[in-house]
């Protein structure tokens, strides 16, 4: 990678930019929680982070978290409550955006974290949904974070754990999901966004040091260019300072 930041640091900062000020965001663990922290310290000082264990936070936790239930995430939380209360906000349309990861995502943004090969002819058993299916179904905008490899970005997932655009077009609305859908897929190479009538994921932004050809070669379908395609801006010094203030131990620096 280009000097000064790691790929993961770039992904975190690209994710942070997807959070708007004042939004209520389901953050989850690993990169997203750090992204939330960067957003709070830069352009989104009024964003609120939710965790399905039953936590809302303004300020990110002061110490490294291995799970969202770890003591630093409890200390000085804005709200400690139950899963029902927090995920109920999601079902009530009170959550603006949610982050999830995944093992497999397809061109309509559907994500599989349950059964590679489908549940009838399972090849690999993955851990399952956790809260991902709920966040994908019920947040106003879904932000997915993935590693960009052809066996991960596939034409059609074998099992939909977390619905994106389903079969594209109005199929998500027809299934009964009243709002939401994929906002952006942030990978280690690029950012994909839905475009066109069927909402297929298009190549929206190419990270520094990567090329459109290379990104497409690492995608399991014929990835088309977004009309507003751009280069992902380099992290700014302000963004990097915010990230370093949160990731004091340099966990994401390697």
């Amino acid at each position: 990678m280009s000097s000064g930041y790691s790929t993961q640091e770039l992904m975190i900062i690209a994710s942070a930019r997807e959070i708007k000020d004042g939004e209520v965001v389901f953050v989850g663990m690993r990169l997203p929680i750090t992204a939330f922290g960067v957003a709070r310290l830069t352009h989104a000082p009024n964003a609120v982070g939710l965790f399905e264990v039953g936590i809302a936070r303004f300020e990110p936790a002061k110490d490294m978290l291995y799970t969202m239930s770890d003591p630093p995430n409890q200390l000085n939380a804005a709200w400690c409550t139950g899963t029902m209360q927090v995920m109920g906000l999601l079902q009530g349309g009170q959550v603006d955006a949610g982050f999830i990861g995944g093992a497999e995502i397809d061109r309509f943004g559907n994500i599989n974290t349950s059964y590679i090969g489908g549940h009838r002819q399972m090849k690999t058993k993955l851990p399952g949904s956790g809260g991902a299916a709920d966040i994908a179904a019920m947040s106003k905008r879904l932000l997915a974070i993935m590693n960009h490899e052809p066996h991960r970005l596939v034409r059609r997932v074998g099992y939909i754990t977390s619905p994106g655009g389903l079969d594209g077009g109005d199929s998500r609305r027809k299934a009964g999901l009243r709002w939401g859908g994929t906002g952006a897929v942030i990978t280690d190479r690029a950012i994909l966004k839905p475009h066109g009538e069927d909402g297929e994921l298009h190549l929206f932004s190419i990270h520094p040091g990567h090329t459109a050809d290379e990104v497409k070669k690492h995608t399991g379908w014929d990835l088309k260019d977004h009309p507003d395609q751009m280069q992902t801006p380099e992290p700014t010094p302000i963004e990097m300072d915010a990230l370093h203030a949160i990731d004091r131990d340099g966990f994401w620096r390697s």
């Binding site: 663990m29 965790f51 399905e52 264990v53 039953g54 936590i55 291995y66 799970t67 969202m68 239930s69 770890d70 003591p71 995430n73 409890q74 200390l75 000085n76 939380a77 400690c80 409550t81 139950g82 899963t83 029902m84 995920m87 999601l90 079902q91 349950s114 059964y115 489908g118 549940h119 399972m122 090849k123 690999t124 058993k125 993955l126 851990p127 399952g128 949904s129 956790g130 809260g131 991902a132 299916a133 709920d134 994908a136 179904a137 019920m138 099992y159 939909i160 754990t161 977390s162 619905p163 389903l166 199929s171 998500r172 299934a175 009964g176 999901l177 009243r178």
Partner: protein
């Protein structure tokens, strides 16, 4: 009132049967009563249905030890490690034996336990529409909202009523009145839904301590059948105000459980060769001491005086 204080061994032997539907920890990654997980393994319980949205590596350990008949949950793995190797072996190769999975999401499981807790005939959910979870678990039924003229599919989830819910709590009196704080996950719903509740208390306190703060009581003591005094019963998971998480323990488990032999060696070392949880505490020694939370960040005072 009669004291419900028993040993962990007695609680597991006396109140949990083969085939029971069991909640072992309900706050996802914190306060998972691993001491009960280990004791269930030592007592060789079989065909348990493990109900939990997420219970970190606890389910994976029970699956590998042959205690689990089915999983009613949203996620099985090792939160900081990733995949659950025993879960994969059971599902992909039937080792040590095949496993049934009742797929849920965190929210649909929370709702199912809430329906059990509050005696609801079913609970309608707007999640899972479009998800194949309604395909792999037909207990999630899609129906038209009967109150809507326009097409409005909703998922009806059945109530879950666990036989036993086991919780690690920071403090309890001998009658099962306990305090719990920090994130609550589905603790309240699981406790109210369960036919009986077993508590593993880090500390046994006078009833007046619990009565001083009835808002920290998450479920009423009359649901509790047994209380075991077992410090660090949640080890290696964290417990708010008491214990940090032992990440190294989870990572070591993750590495060693990659193959069946490694898991069995791990099991012998950490579970089967330990007579009880006191023996495990002794084996951990200083490592456990270092996980104890020693700082103080007390909740602002709350007054309950009536005059």
């Amino acid at each position: 009132m009669r004291s419900k204080l028993v040993s962990l061994k007695e609680a597991v032997a006396g109140f949990i049967k083969d085939g029971d539907r069991l909640v072992i920890g309900a706050s996802l990654e914190a306060a998972i009563p691993f001491a009960a997980t280990f004791e269930l393994i030592r007592q060789g319980k079989r065909q348990l249905d493990l109900i939990a949205p997420i219970s970190d590596a606890s389910a994976d350990m029970l699956i590998g030890a042959g205690c689990a008949g089915s999983i009613t949950g949203a996620w099985v793995g090792n939160v900081s490690g990733g995949l659950g190797h025993n879960y994969r072996r059971a599902m992909e190769q039937g080792i040590p034996h095949p496993l049934k999975v009742n797929d849920f999401s965190n929210f649909s499981l929370a709702m199912a336990l809430m329906a059990g807790a509050y005696g609801m005939p079913f609970v309608p959910v707007r999640s899972l529409l479009g998800s194949d979870i309604t395909q792999s678990n037909p207990d999630h039924k899609i129906l038209q909202n009967p109150l809507s003229e326009a097409p409005d599919p909703v998922v009806l989830v059945k109530p879950l009523v666990p036989d036993v819910a086991i919780f690690s709590v920071p403090r309890s009196d001998v009658f099962g009145n306990a305090h719990f704080w920090g994130s609550l996950g589905v603790v309240q719903e699981a406790a109210l839904a369960a036919k009986s509740v077993i508590l593993l208390a880090d500390e046994i306190v006078e009833p007046a301590v619990i009565a001083s703060d009835p808002n920290r009581v998450i479920f009423p003591g009359f649901k509790v059948k047994a209380v075991a005094h077992e410090p660090a019963s949640q080890y290696p998971s964290p417990m708010t105000g008491c214990w940090k998480r032992d990440n190294a323990f989870f990572n070591d488990y993750h590495q060693r459980s990659r193959d069946r032999e490694g898991y069995l060696a791990w099991l012998e070392e950490w579970v089967l060769s330990q007579a009880d949880h006191a023996a495990l505490r002794a084996k951990l020694g200083k490592r456990l001491d270092e996980l104890r939370i020693k700082g103080t960040a007390l909740a602002a005072p709350a007054n309950f005086a009536s005059e």
